[in-house]
Structures are given as C-alpha cells and as structure tokens.
Assembly symmetry: C3
Homo-oligomer: 457 residues x 3
C-alpha cells in the first residue's frame, strides 16, 4: 500500500493547488459573466427593418424609360402588370422599431417608418425626393391585465399600415391595403378557430374648394373607416364601412355626386399548398365595394368616387417549386368597376402574370417574367381621359445575383434585365402625359433594360 | 487503514478524470467568455430615443376637429390649455445618439433629431408632412484635461434644444424653450452649491424685404443670444441677452419699430415634494423679458416683437398621489404682455389645468383633465386680429391603456377620449382662420372625441 | 503513513464537496454562457455612421456671414478655398447600415444615407431644410460562388457615392466625386498588382423645355456614365465615358450647343509617406475631361457644359507631423477650363491651402489655416456673370477641443474661430447675389468668427 499512499501524498499538493486555481478561475468566470450582455432576444430594444429598391430603367436611347407596374391605362385604377424589369424609381422604407417589456410582462412596440420615392438618378434629391413618415404607432401585446377573449389580444394606436395587409408581390399590389391614422384591437379570440380584429382608421381628403376661413388655405375632410377582419382558420372575411362627412361638397373634376360613404368586403383564403397541387402556398381573394368602398385595394383612400360606384375584384397567386431548381409564381388580378367617377363609366381589366426562376449557382439565378393585361375602359371623359380597349404584354429576362439562392422571399437581389413590351397603340390615347402616351420615344414593341437592387429584412 | 487507502485509490482515477474534465470545461468557458459581448453600459455606441404622438381628433360629424393646446386666441402668444384629448396631429421626434469614449476617458455624444408634424391622417404625406432636422450637435463630458471649476464641465456645439429646458407636460409648454445653433459649456462649478452654464445661440429671422443682391432670394438676420443658467441648489436663475442686427429694418406687418435687442430672465424653483404638502414634485417659475426677450417661452425666436415690448409670465405645476391609485397634476400658466407687436397693445391670459388619473388595473387607468382659461387681448389690429375678452373651458375623460400603470411619466399610452369644450362666442372673432373661428362646425359647447397614442423613451 | 492516510481521509469529504460545488458552478456557468450575446463583430446587424457639421459663422455685426469653401467666383466652377472657420451651415449625413451573412458565407450590406443641409440657425427647418436620401444601395462581397478573377469581387446596385471617391478634406473637395444610380463590380483581380472596378451610373438632367406630354410637368434626360477604375499598386487610373441622349436639345441659358457626351480621365497616386520626405501620407491627381466630362470633379453631374468644353485639373495634399506636437497638411488645387459653357469662355484658378495644428493638451489644440486663391475667369456672360481677375486670401485661427488630440482624422471637434479674409474688390462683380458680392456688409478685408462642431464616425 505504501507506494500508493506515497503517490497520493505526492500528488496532493498539486491537487490542492489545482483546486485553488479552479476556485480562482471559477470566481473569475463568474465575475466576468456578470459583466456580459444577455443574448439579444429581439424582445427589447432597437431594431431596424427595410424595404428598398433602386436602379436604372432605360430605353434603347439610354434615356430613362417610363415604367412601373401601374403604367397602363388600367394602372390608373389599380390594374398592375408585372414589376420585374419595370421599375424606374428609388423607393425605400426605413423602419425603426423599439420594443419594451414591462415588469408585469406586457410588451410594447413603437414603430416609425420613414419613406422616400423618386425617379431622379441623382444623389441629391432635396427638390425631387419625397421623404415622409408613413407609420408612427404604438402596439401593446401580452397585456398582463387582459383576460377572456382578449387574453391574447394586441391593441394599437397611431399611424400605420394595417397588420393584416397582404400582397401579390410580383404585381406590387396588395390584395387590400388599409392604412391611415387610428386605433384598434387584434386577435380577439371568440373560439379556437375564430378570431377577429377591429379598428378605426381615418383618411384625409384634401383639395376642397378653398375655404376662406381655413387657417392653412386648404380644407379637408376625413374618411372614417370601421374595419373588422375575421379569421375562420384559413378563411378571412374582412368588412369595412366608411363615412366622409361633406365629401359630396368637394369639388371633384366632372363629378357632381361624390360619395360620402362606402361599404367594402373581402373574402380571402390563405392556402398552405400550391392550390392543393404541390408544396408551396397560395392566396385567393374576392373584393367588392360600393361608394367610397369602390376603390377596393386602397381602402377608403379615394375621395373622388361616385356615390353609385361599384367595383368587384378578384386576385390570386401561388408559389411552388418545379423540380429542385425551378420556382414558379403565377398570379391573376382582375376588376370590373362601374359608375366609378362619372355616372355611366365602365372599367374592366384583367392581368395574368407569371414569374419563373432558375436557380443555377450559389449566388446566381435566372429570372423570367411574363405579363399580359387586357382592358376595356370607358372613363366618360373623367380627368380628360379617353375610352380605350386593348392589350398590353411584357416579357422580362433578369440574370439575378443574391447572397444565397433558394425560396421566393429571399432578398437582397441585384439584377440586370431586359424587357420586351408591346401594346395596342390605342392605349396611348388614354390620358395626356401618362406613361404609355408620354412621348414618341416610348412606343409599342420596344425594349427596355437596366439594373436594380431590391432588399428587405 | 487499508480499506480507506484502497477506497482512495479506487476513487482517484475518477477524481483525476473529473479534474481533467474540470480543466477542460474551465478552459472552454474561458475561451467562450473571450468571445462574448460586454454588457451594454449605454456609454458607447448607438441608441435610439423618441417622443411621438399620433391619433384622431373628431367632432360629432366625424370630421377632424381643430385642436391643439394653442387653439385659443391666447394660444397665439403662448397661452396653452390642456392637451388631453386635444391633439389633432401626428408629431414625432426620432433621436439617434452615438456615444464614444476616448482612451483618456473623455466621453463624446453625437445627437441627431429628425422630427415630423402633420395633421393629415394619410400614410403618404410627402406634400403635407414636415420632416426636418431639429438637433445635430456634439457634446463632450468628463474631459481628461479639464481641471478646477470646469473639472466636471460639459461642452457642446451644433444645433440643439438647450439641456436645461423643462416643461409643463400637460399644457405642452416649456417654461422656457431655448434652441438654435451655437456652442456652450455646462456645469461650471463655482462652489459646491453653485454651478453655471454659459452658451451662445443663434436664431434666424427671415422674410426680410426681398434683397435683390441675395443669392437665394430671401434675406435673413440672426438673433444672437447669450445665455447663463445659474443653479443655487434647487433655485435656478437664467439670464439671457440678445441682439439682432438690422432687425428693426425688417418689414413686419404693421410694426415700424421691431426690436433689435432684448433681455430675458427666469427665476425658477425645482421642488422635490408636492409644494411641501406631500410626496411628489413641483416646479415654479417667473419669467420676464423686454424687447426681443418679450417672447418669454421661445427665447429669441420671435423677430416681430416691438422694441418696447414687455412680458411677464408665471408658471407652476406639481405632481402627487392622492391615496394609492389616484394621481393629481395641477398646473397654472399666466402672462401679461404690453406693447408686444404694436405700441399700446395688451395681452393678458391665465390658464388653470388639472389632470387626474385613476389607476384601475395592471394595464388600465382613467384619466381626467379640466382646463380653464381667461384672456383679455387687445392686439391693436396686429395681423388683422380683433380685440377679445372671454373664457375657454374644456373637460376631457380618457380611458387609457398602458403597459404598466403607475407614475406620471410612464409611457407609452393608448387612449380613447371625449371632451366637452365651451367658450365665449366673442373669441371666435379674434383672427381669420384660427381654430375657434375656423368654421361653423366648430362652435362653442361642443363635443370632440378620438383615440391617440403617446410614447417617449 | 497512517497520519497521511488519515489526513487524506479527513480532507476527502471536503474535497468531494468542493468537487460537487465546482460541478454545480461549472454547470451554472455553462448554462449562463448559452444565454449571452456573442461579441459584436460588425459583420452582422445594424450600425450607424455619420458625417455632420453645425455652427455659427458671424461677421462683426453679429449677423450671419456668407461663407463656405466655394464662396469665390472660382468656387462656381469648383475652386474651393480652405474650410476652417468658413462654414455657415448645418450639414449632416445619417448613415444606416445593415449587414447580413448567408449560410454559404456571402456577405451583404444595405446602406441608407439621409442627408440635410441648411443655413438656418433655427431648430425647426421644415421650410428651409433639405432632408433627402443620398444613398440607398446593396453590396455583396465574399460571394460563395465567385471564382477566378472575380473571386474577391464585390458587386452592387442602387444609389450611391462610388466607393473609390477620395477628397482633400481641408478644401471640402473630392478629387473626383462620382455618385448616382446604377450598378457595378469592384475588385476584379487581373493580376496580383492589378485590379479594376467597373460600374455604370445614371445622372438626371432636368429643366428641359416643359414637355406638354410629360406626366409630371418636368422633363429630364439621363447622363449614363461608364466608369473603370484601375489600380496598379499605388497608381490609380480612372476612365469615364458618358452619354446623355437629347441633352443638346435642353434649353441652357446662353448655350445653344450643350454637350451630349463626354470623356473623363484621372491619374492618381496614393502615397504612404509625406511626398517621400517624412512619415505621413499624400495623394496627387491629374484630371482631364471634355464635353460632359469637363466637370472633372462631379463626374457627369453638369448638363450645361458646352460640346467643346475642355478642363484639366491638378490636385495634391499631404499630411505629416513636424515634431511631436505640430501637424501640417498642405494642399493645392488648380484648374484650367475652356469653352466650358460658352464657346470662347475661359476659367483659370489655383488654390494653395495649409492647415497647421498644435497639440497642446489632452483635449485641446490650436488650429491654423492659411488659404490663397488666384483666378482669371472670362465667362462670356454665362448666367449674367462678369469677367474677373484677382486674388482671395484667408487666415483662420481656431482653438479646438476634442476628446483626444492626435492624428489628422480624429473627430469630433468643437472649435471656436476667427478669420481674416481679403480679396480684390473686382471679384465682387462676378455674379449677382454670390457670396462676395452679396451686400455691402460683406466686403474685403473683414473679420468673421464663430463656433462649430464637426464629427464623423
């Protein structure tokens, strides 16, 4: 035994020493750990979000080409065509968030969105930019004192885009876009599969006949929108009612009977497959509105609508992979609208769009977009516009770089692109100064090209 | 002894193994700790601060109602009434800070404030918003090389709100608001109970008679303000002198003798109880100014003042709890001003205001505000204004949600509110286009209501 | 042996206990370490950068003095003089960055720059400020799929200042400033000592003859600039070609032959010593341009240039320490330009500038700047300007505070300053409303003074 015991004895001082050292190191570690930053959870503090696009859109003469998804006559009433290779602007949203969590667990969010839009390529755009604040609101969630059907509710007030807006990305069009200043409550849970949101939004209609009593020379009225969004599983039923006192007294070009109230409804389905055919997702919606509700996308934002205006719109899109490397996203958007601004006017248009992407390498894919629109519009002279009936089509090819290919919603992207677009010459006559009729440089059967970035996070 | 020795021997390998493992784990921990972020002290790097409010203020016709604490005739010269349920705007300040600490210990701060103000409810306000930069300055503190009375001093330069501004929150009125472009030093310590701040601020007066030699078509002069703020414990004595070369040559409506210099003083007391009666705080101040100093709140900001203008203002507020769940914050603001813009004119007004809050649940309280103002104004036709003598009163009830009730300065809040306001009809005649006289929809004895958020952090 | 064995036995329980405690503490530490934030590398997430200056520049009457490095007649075509004590404005750039790293290692950066400029000293500048977006672009680097000569390349698209711009800080003048909207690739590595950058930039020229067909009332064309920057070690060769379709059809004051294309080249050397004489750095460049390239600094930004315009510019600066506490930074900038806007016009100017700094204490240094410019300009009546031939000189002394003295690029600084400037009276006659000729208060042989902050990070 002696050797062992000796061995023990001889190692002991070292062991004790190591023990001391361990103690010291543990204490040091514990002290250091008290001075480090807890892992960011995103639940508190500042964060930054963005949507932005910027680039050049040129014609064969190397001049800026008119463009944008809303460049056709139908675009004047919301008829978008495909956006790929069709955007001449720098548009950006800088979103500054600040989240706090109270001792009682209630969370709050303040969100500020500063936006800008310009078609100038210059770096100094003090005279032709449009920096403005689109959102500034506060939202409370997980309220400690809320019980029952509002237990998981969120409340908000301020200026905002409604939380439940959703879009057809490739047409740069929301199904319905509700925004303004107001207050509301989200996620009132009536049953396990039935929840509702209720809000009131204000919109301002300006350009009243100049009111000599007004302090700032312009007069305005408000369109007050009551909105309810109801979710039954994947089914969404939105109902909006709105009223704008005195709006019928506004001077509206050629319109002696502007609406002062409106109704708007949207029935939508949010699918978690590609129309049941394959993996992916789809969304489909039917919208209907009358009076001030007849602008079915920008809810309550158009004060020029006729009191008899009626619109019905259908929209759908889906996304899916075709094999391992090909993505497909088709979309459709169509509307019929009557007595919209002038009694007896008639707006009909239909857009079909499809974007394909071929994922080729770690940072590279080819994107293709085909867009076709047909329209038959009789504006009855509203804003000097002429009756048109015709078709517009557009084909774009866009070699695209991105940090990592894969998926439909992965940004940023840097693209170069070339587009061929063609339309019935008759469409040029719709309006003075609109994109198609702008000048002789921009005629049917033409090529445009350019480069652009798009980013969101 | 053998069994023990054997026991030791048999446990030893394990102990040694554990020791190894401890060593490894310690080393791993130490290595990991070298890769973690030190706790944020707020002493370095970026941070974000905000003041913002946004909401709807409507009349019984569901139209925007005129409003704001400065809506009465007295408001044109600073006579605010209570703000609860009385704000028709979206106003916000986004404050971006960047702090650095030099190796020698000197701290520096860069602060940028971007602000916006609009009464439009729309989300796109490029034409009716007002995005601008209100502050951009640098401040150094704990300067390594400073000794003696400036040992704890802070120096600054740029465009800013003076550090020592303080307000009556419920009237949206600073006691004195000093802001502009300049430079200065804070916290010069003459004795343990005596410290002083010294700054120079510039303000721009524009709208000179158009100067054909001017490069930008507008001409301007500067009001240069020398300010000293002296603190004797809770007592503050502020003294301002100012001079605006050539200001007497500006064309000012109906005023042939605009001041080109001014004096302004404020004596204030910062109390750490509710007027000595209970826990809470209070502030009280008397302000007096002449010439360009006769705008006693917005120091040096009004270039239209008459050379003989004299104003004296008194303000006070306090905060205290009445029992466990009721908060009270009364305030008073009053001014007398003579020869202000026209020799012989006379402005007298007094506002009493009190806000009560009843803390009811974790996230809910009821707020009440009563406001009364009396005014007797003889503007001698300045800017076409008429003589008025009358009273304005306002009562607001505001159910209020917040992340955690408690305290006077706890934000954000989401409120809904209803107000009843009443005033002497004579007040409508003060000025063309001001809030009370704006139109027949906005008459005395009326209800307004709405919803709003308010946040600061 | 027994005592030892006993000793061991008696210490064992403690040891085991300690062992347990160590285990617990290790486990606790390990658990805590899983909840801490990894050290910020700057490779991901939000960051904030800034350039800003703000202060007062006053004359002896305490009124704002005209100023700025471009205040002389030569300044109208880029002839800057020294900026110290010569800046009357608040100018700032708020830069918001967001960096991401993909799973495959590819890095992306989104950069947004919001800028403002005003000479108003007021804190509310909604009417006289200029908030706008100068940059919004995306940049990818370390692309996982890039090989060969583009292995280390960076690609970008959007609106930006070109990465390779560099300036003479003391004259507030870039050697060449390329900015606009476009796309490009940096760091194409042809050989170990040869790398190139290629980009296309668009610039907008507006103020066309009003086009009745234009949707927004203004018409514009684009100047499309192809740029290549080639680096051979410290040597940089930049070549730019540009074309602006229809620019010769723009109505340009007095110019019937505006250029519609241009060429621009710059040969530069980036030295890592003070002209080989001592430690420090230097940069020297020769620029030459014709047609639209004859504005040799702001590449492609001047649409008024004559088709025969030719300009050649030389610039150089260096920095070095003279002993331990004195810094010296001399600079030279000179240009000759002919047929610039009007056939037969002639612009010649030369600026010499030197800034000295004497580092005196931890937070304090004295700065001195001497500036001299000679010019001989015959504008042939362009924009009503008169022929002038004369000299301008300026001496500034600026006691300067900073967090830590040392080095040429260390900011922030807070300065007070006094300047004496003198010039030939003939220069006052150059243009109506320019700085020198503005009014009788601003005459030759005058003192100006003020205070200012300058910061970047």
């Amino acid at each position: 035994m002696a050797p062992i015991a000796v061995a023990i004895a001889s190692t002991l001082p070292v062991a004790v020493q190591a023990q001391d050292s361990v103690e010291e190191r543990l204490s040091a570690l514990e002290a250091q750990l008290a001075e480090v930053e807890p892992k960011a959870t995103g639940e508190e503090g500042f964060s930054f979000n963005t949507y932005a696009r910027s680039g050049l859109l040129l014609n064969e003469d190397l001049k800026s080409a008119p463009g944008g998804p809303y460049l056709t006559p139908a675009g004047s009433v919301g008829g978008a065509v495909g956006r790929l290779g069709n955007e001449p602007d720098t548009y950006l949203e800088a979103i500054l968030n600040y989240r706090q969590k109270a001792d009682n667990g209630t969370k709050s969010l303040y969100r500020l969105m500063i936006a800008d839009s310009t078609t100038s390529s210059n770096d100094w755009t003090a005279n032709d930019g449009a920096v403005n604040v689109r959102q500034a609101y506060v939202e409370f969630s997980e309220l400690a004192g809320f019980r029952g059907i509002v237990r998981n509710a969120t409340i908000w007030a301020g200026k905002r885009f409604d939380r439940d807006n959703f879009d057809i990305h490739w047409l740069d069009s929301d199904f319905a876009f509700l925004a303004g200043t107001g207050a509301g409550i989200y996620d009132v849970q009536f049953a396990s599969e039935l929840s509702s949101n209720f809000s009131v939004y204000g919109r301002s209609f300006i350009d009243f006949p100049s009111d000599p009593d007004s302090s700032d020379g312009t007069s305005k009225t408000d369109n007050i929108i009551l909105t309810a969004n109801n979710y039954f599983g994947p089914v969404q039923l939105m109902v909006n009612g709105m009223t704008a006192a005195d709006n019928d007294e506004r001077i509206v070009a050629g319109n002696t009977d502007a609406a002062d109230s409106g109704i708007h409804t949207m029935l939508a389905y949010h699918g978690d497959s590609f129309f049941g055919l394959s993996d992916g997702n789809f969304k489909v919606a039917v919208l209907h509105g009358s009076g001030l509700g007849a602008e079915v996308k920008n809810i309550g934002a158009d004060g020029n609508l006729h009191e008899d205006a009626v619109s019905t719109r259908f929209g759908a899109y889906g996304t899916t992979y075709l094999g391992d490397h090909w993505r497909l996203a088709p979309a459709i958007l169509a509307e019929t609208s009557k007595d919209r601004y002038i009694k007896g006017d008639d707006y009909q248009w239909l857009t079909l769009n499809a974007r394909f992407a071929h994922e080729i390498a770690a940072n590279f894919e080819m994107q293709y977009e085909a867009s076709w629109q047909t329209m038959d519009i009789d504006p009855r002279g509203y804003q000097g516009r002429s009756e048109v009936d015709g078709e517009y089509s557009r084909l774009t090819i866009a070699p695209t770089f991105k940090p990592q290919v894969g998926g439909f919603w992965n940004r940023p992207e840097i693209r170069v692109f070339a587009s061929y677009s063609s339309w019935d010459d008759e469409l040029d006559a719709y309006a003075v100064g609109d994109s198609l009729g702008e000048d002789s440089d921009f005629a049917s059967d033409q090529w445009t090209f350019g480069a652009q970035m798009e980013v969101w996070f």
